[in-house]
C-alpha cells in the first residue's frame, strides 16, 4: 500500500489507497461530527422547539419562539441596537485603521516589518486583557479622566460601563483585522496615477478622494465585512466594558443560555446572528461586483 502520489496514480493501487485514507481521516471526522455538525444542526432544530418555564424541552415543531422573538419589542430593539452599534464600530475602525494601513503600504524595509509586528501583536493578547486595559484607561481614575480633571474638569465623564466604552474598546480590538484587510486590498493602488494627477495640478486631497479611495474600495469592503461580522458576535468586550448595562445580541445569548437556561430563545437569537451574517455577506458580494 503505497502512500505517495506517484503510485497512487496507477489504477492498480487506486482502489487500495481508500482504506488507508479512511483510517487517517476517521479521528478528525468524529471530532467534526460530534463537535460541529451535530451541535449546529441540533441548534437550528432547537430554535423551532418550545421550552417550559423550568427549561425542559417540550419537543415537537413550532415557530413560536421565532414569532415571539421577532414580535417582542425588547428583542427587536436588541437586534436593531446590535446592528446599529456594529455599523458605528465598523466605520470608526475603518477611519482609525486607514492611516496606519496607508502608512504601512508606503513605508519600506525593516521599519515596516517592526510596525507590522506591532499591528499583529495585539491579536496574540486575549480580549480579556485588552478590555481590562481599556477599563484602566477610561475609568473615573483612568488616564483620560485624570487628564481632563487636570485641565479643569470638575467631575469625571462616564466612559466605561456604558455604550461609549464598548464602542471605543471594540474599535481598538478590531483594528488589526481591518488593517490587514486594507493592506491586502492596497495592492490595487497605482503610484503612477497619483503622480500623474499631481502633475496635472490636483491637490493631495483630490488625489486621495478621486484616486486612492476608489482604488482601495475592495480592501475597505473586505475589512468592513470582517469587522461588522466580528462586532455583531463579540461578547467579551460588551460584557466587561458594558458592565452589565449594555445589551447586545451576543450578551443576551449568553444570559439566556447560562442564566435563564432558555435554550430555544438562545438558539433563535443565534439564528438571527447567522441571518445578519448571511445578509452582510450578500451585501458584500453585491458591492464587490459593482466595484470591480
Amino acid at each position: 500500500m503505497s502512500a505517495v502520489a506517484l503510485s497512487a496514480n496507477s489504477p492498480k493501487n487506486a482502489g487500495r489507497v481508500q482504506p488507508m485514507a479512511i483510517a487517517l481521516l476517521l479521528p478528525i471526522t468524529i471530532v467534526s461530527l460530534v463537535g460541529f455538525v451535530a451541535p449546529v444542526a441540533n441548534l437550528l432544530v432547537l430554535s423551532f422547539q418550545k421550552a417550559e418555564g423550568t427549561g425542559a424541552l417540550l419537543g415537537g415543531f413550532t415557530t413560536e419562539t421565532w414569532t415571539t422573538v421577532l414580535q417582542d419589542m425588547f428583542y427587536l430593539h436588541l437586534i436593531l441596537n446590535s446592528i446599529a452599534t456594529s455599523l458605528v464600530i465598523t466605520v470608526l475602525t475603518l477611519v482609525t485603521s486607514y492611516p496606519i494601513a496607508l502608512y504601512l503600504h508606503r513605508s519600506r524595509g525593516s521599519w515596516r516589518n517592526v510596525l507590522l509586528v506591532l499591528v499583529i501583536s495585539p491579536l496574540l493578547l486575549s480580549a480579556v486583557v485588552r478590555t481590562y486595559g481599556w477599563i484602566a484607561i477610561l475609568s473615573d481614575q483612568g488616564v483620560v479622566n485624570r487628564t481632563l480633571m487636570f485641565f479643569g474638569m470638575t467631575s469625571p465623564i462616564r466612559l466605561v460601563f456604558n455604550m461609549t466604552g464598548v464602542v471605543i474598546g471594540l474599535t481598538e480590538i478590531l483594528m488589526p483585522y481591518m488593517i490587514l484587510a486594507l493592506l491586502a486590498g492596497f495592492g490595487h493602488l497605482d503610484r503612477q496615477a497619483e503622480e500623474a494627477a499631481l502633475t496635472l495640478g490636483a491637490t493631495p486631497f483630490t488625489v486621495f478622494r478621486r484616486i486612492i479611495l476608489p482604488l482601495s474600495l475592495p480592501g475597505i469592503a473586505l475589512g468592513s465585512l470582517l469587522c461588522f461580522v466580528l462586532a455583531v458576535s463579540s461578547f467579551i468586550t460588551p460584557k466587561l466594558l458594558g458592565g452589565g448595562r449594555v445589551f447586545l445580541l451576543a450578551t443576551e445569548i449568553y444570559d439566556q443560555a447560562i442564566v435563564s437556561l432558555n435554550w430555544p430563545v438562545a438558539a433563535t437569537l443565534s439564528g438571527v446572528i447567522l441571518i445578519i451574517f448571511g445578509t452582510a455577506l450578500l451585501f458584500y458580494t453585491r458591492l464587490l461586483k459593482s466595484v470591480m
Binding site: 503505497s2 496514480n9 478528525i28 496607508l102 480580549a127 485588552r130 477599563i135 484602566a136 449568553y254 438558539a267
Partner: protein
C-alpha cells in the same frame, strides 16, 4: 512625494492611531507595578506586590494549571489527529478532498458565541459540562481547523521527489513518512503545535460556556475577576502571560528556523 515616502500629515495621523491601537497594552505594563489597591492610572505609588498576590488567589493558580494541562493535551491531540488528516487530504488523492477541507475548517467561520452555544447544548446532554474531557473536546473543535490548514500547507510545499526516490529504492510507506516526510515537516509541525497551544490557552468564549464550578480555565477566571473586581492583579497576570506568549513564539521561531537550515 516622488520617492513613495509617506507625507508628514500621514505620518502624524498614523502615529496617533498607533498610540490608540497600542494603548491598552502600553497601560497594562506600568499598571502591574502599581502600589494602589484599585485601578488608577498613573498609579500614586509603585510596588511589585500584585505579582505576589497572584499566588494568594487559589482559584487563579488552579485555573493556570488547568489551562496549561489543557493546552498541552490539546496540542498533542491536534497533531495526532491533524497530521494524518492533512496527509490524507494532500497526498492520497481522495475524492472530495476540497469538500473535506472546508468541512474540517468550517468551525472557524461560525461566530464563536454560536458555536459555543451549539456545543454547550449537546455536551450538557452528554454530561460533559465542567469536565476536563468536555472542555478538551470543545477546544479540539476550534484548534483542529488551524492544525489542518497549517499542516496541509506544510505538506503541499514539500518536494515530493524525495519521497518518490525513497519509495523507488524500496522504503516502506511508513519508513518514507518517518524518515523523510516527518523531518522535512518539522517547521510546520512546530508552528502548528505553538498555534494550537496558544489558541487553547487563550480561548475564552467557548470555555465560558463549557466550564463549571468544578473546573475553570485561566481566561475564564480572569474574565470573572475583571467582572467583579477592579484592581491591578490582572495587569500583573497579563504581563506574565505576555512574557510566556513571547517566549513560545520566539522558541518556535528558533526551532523552526533551525529545522529549516537542517532540512536544506
Amino acid at each position: 512625494m516622488n520617492d513613495h515616502a509617506p507625507s508628514t500629515g500621514l505620518k502624524i495621523l498614523a502615529a496617533a492611531m498607533f498610540v490608540f491601537l497600542l494603548a491598552p497594552v502600553l497601560v497594562v505594563v506600568p499598571l502591574s507595578f502599581s502600589g494602589d489597591a484599585f485601578l488608577s492610572f498613573p498609579p500614586s505609588s509603585w510596588s511589585t506586590r500584585w505579582y505576589g498576590r497572584i499566588l494568594a488567589e487559589p482559584k487563579i493558580v488552579a485555573a493556570f494549571w488547568t489551562s496549561l494541562t489543557l493546552a498541552a493535551t490539546t496540542m498533542v491531540l491536534c497533531l495526532a489527529i491533524g497530521l494524518p488528516a492533512a496527509y490524507a487530504i494532500v497526498r492520497l488523492r481522495i475524492p472530495g478532498a476540497a469538500f473535506l477541507t472546508s468541512l474540517f475548517t468550517a468551525p472557524l467561520l461560525l461566530p464563536s458565541i454560536v458555536l459555543a452555544l451549539a456545543i454547550l447544548i449537546v455536551f450538557a446532554r452528554l454530561g460533559f459540562i465542567g469536565s476536563f474531557r468536555g472542555v478538551l473536546a470543545g477546544h479540539l473543535v476550534v484548534t483542529l481547523p488551524y492544525a489542518v490548514r497549517v499542516l496541509a500547507t506544510s505538506i503541499a510545499g514539500l518536494p515530493i521527489a524525495c519521497e518518490e526516490a525513497a519509495t523507488t529504492l524500496g522504503a516502506s510507506p511508513l519508513a518514507v513518512f518517518r524518515r523523510i516526510t516527518l523531518p522535512l515537516m518539522l517547521p510546520g509541525i512546530a508552528a502548528t503545535a505553538a498555534l494550537c497551544f496558544l489558541v487553547s490557552f487563550d480561548e475564552v468564549v467557548l470555555s465560558l460556556f463549557l466550564t463549571g464550578p468544578r473546573l475553570s480555565t485561566l481566561p475564564v477566571e480572569m474574565f470573572h475577576y475583571v467582572e467583579t473586581r477592579t484592581d491591578p492583579l490582572i495587569a500583573a497576570l497579563s504581563v506574565i502571560l505576555v512574557v510566556i506568549t513571547l517566549a513560545i513564539v520566539l522558541l518556535v521561531d528558533r526551532t523552526a528556523g533551525l529545522a529549516r537550515t537542517f532540512a536544506r
